[in-house]
């Protein structure tokens, strides 16, 4: 069976996420312990979220990646014969995918991701950014309005996430985003909803992150890896000599998840897509974009056990 794996991004987290895996899966438990050790942090405590740790970007990113890798390792043990034809992650999920594929060893990968999360937290605190989802709108028209507003108010607003054909997210300086909402409504684009985020991710508001990340990456060693990972930024698979530049660009560039899914389907023809991580967001995107490919979301131990009985 040919499988494509999707790794969750920020926003998928919930309190006590993965604790059921931690109790039942040795592979998961060991992964969390190893990664916590590399970071000198308690990732299990983050997942418990007793002190709202998951409200902070700097904690969420590594927690979600640890979740994804833990489940991935358990999956490899339980189903050694499935053929993973390609992987894809949303935003920070790309790091999970690259680590799972072997482009970074775990220690290098998780520390790199922690650096990214710290830089992003700093940028989010220093800029007044916001994001809104726009549903079932003419994307060209939304892009044009954003461009026009950016010119008028001299602050950036633009499309940050191309999630599905029916759903894009725009982000930028709050003032510009507000103006874009008004302009869109004037022009009949009314299906707009604000998202609860701490910054305008995947926009130029994170240019400091991008620069710092590029610096950090110069000292990171990349290994040869086998399983293709499709990039949100280029929509093509990551290639070794451009991996670092692509990751540095990723934080200031829109994500093109729908196109990534289409490329995954076209080039690797998976029989099944598995979303690994808390939540089901990517499964929903996949259902919309590739209605003919079955998708299963593994976010809870119980669902995972059910999945195993259907596949064996």
């Amino acid at each position: 069976m040919k499988v494509g794996i999707l790794f969750s991004g920020q926003g998928a987290q919930f309190s006590n996420m993965g604790l059921d895996f931690y109790q039942n899966s040795k592979a998961y438990q060991e992964t969390l312990k190893r990664l916590s050790g590399y970071l000198q942090k308690d990732l299990v405590a983050f997942c418990k979220n007793q002190h709202n740790e998951l409200l902070q970007t700097k904690n969420v990113q590594t927690a979600i990646t640890a979740f994804g890798l833990g489940v991935f390792h358990q999956l490899q043990q339980d189903l050694p014969t499935i053929e993973t034809v390609a992987m894809l992650g949303l935003s920070l999920g790309e790091y999970t995918a690259l680590m799972a594929a072997g482009a970074f060893d775990e220690k290098t990968g998780i520390r790199l991701l922690q650096a990214r999360a710290d830089y992003m937290q700093a940028d989010a605190e220093q800029t007044d950014g916001s994001m809104v989802a726009v549903l079932r709108a003419d994307v060209q028209k939304v892009a044009k309005i954003c461009q026009q507003v950016t010119g008028e108010v001299k602050h950036f607003v633009g499309i940050a996430n191309y999630n599905t054909e029916q759903q894009v997210v725009i982000g930028g300086q709050s003032e510009a985003v507000q103006r874009a909402i008004t302009t869109m409504k004037d022009q009949g684009i009314k299906k707009v909803i604000s998202l609860k985020v701490s910054g305008a991710f995947h926009t130029p508001l994170f240019k400091n992150t991008s620069q710092k990340l590029a610096n950090y990456l110069t000292n990171v060693s990349v290994r040869n890896w086998q399983i293709p990972v499709i990039s949100n930024t280029t929509t093509e698979k990551f290639v070794p000599n451009k991996l670092k530049i692509t990751l540095a660009k990723q934080v200031i560039s829109p994500t093109h998840f729908a196109d990534c899914l289409k490329n995954l389907q076209k080039n690797y023809q998976p029989d099944l897509l598995i979303e690994v991580g808390p939540g089901k967001t990517l499964s929903k995107f996949a259902n919309r974009t590739l209605p003919d490919v079955p998708v299963v979301a593994i976010g809870k131990w119980e669902t995972y056990q059910k999945f195993l009985t259907t596949i064996k």
């Binding site: 549903l135 299906k191 998202l195 089901k280 929903k284």
Partner: protein, 81 residues
């Protein structure tokens, strides 16, 4: 439109949006807690119902359960007539 017809319509839309089986969607189900919807999902569900039934719905109206949605739709349909 009868309450049962509204419920069936809501079930179909919710099932599609949240990728759950229609028979899991009970009237008393809490959309966020039991069906794992986020606020964007609720917004999409409301929009879909608006378009299908040609009514106006606010996503931030106080709806918690499927029953709340059915009753809200019923109210707005009545207001239209």
């Amino acid at each position: 439109m009868t309450e049962e017809k509204i419920f069936n319509k809501v079930k179909k839309i919710v099932a599609e949006q949240l990728d759950v089986d229609q028979d899991k969607i009970k009237l008393e189900a809490d959309i966020k807690d039991d069906l794992d919807a986020d606020s964007l999902d609720v917004f999409e569900i409301m929009n879909e119902l608006e378009d299908d039934l040609d009514i106006k719905l606010e996503a931030d109206e106080n709806v918690k359960t499927i029953k709340d949605v059915v009753e809200y739709v019923k109210k707005q349909l009545a207001a239209k007539e």
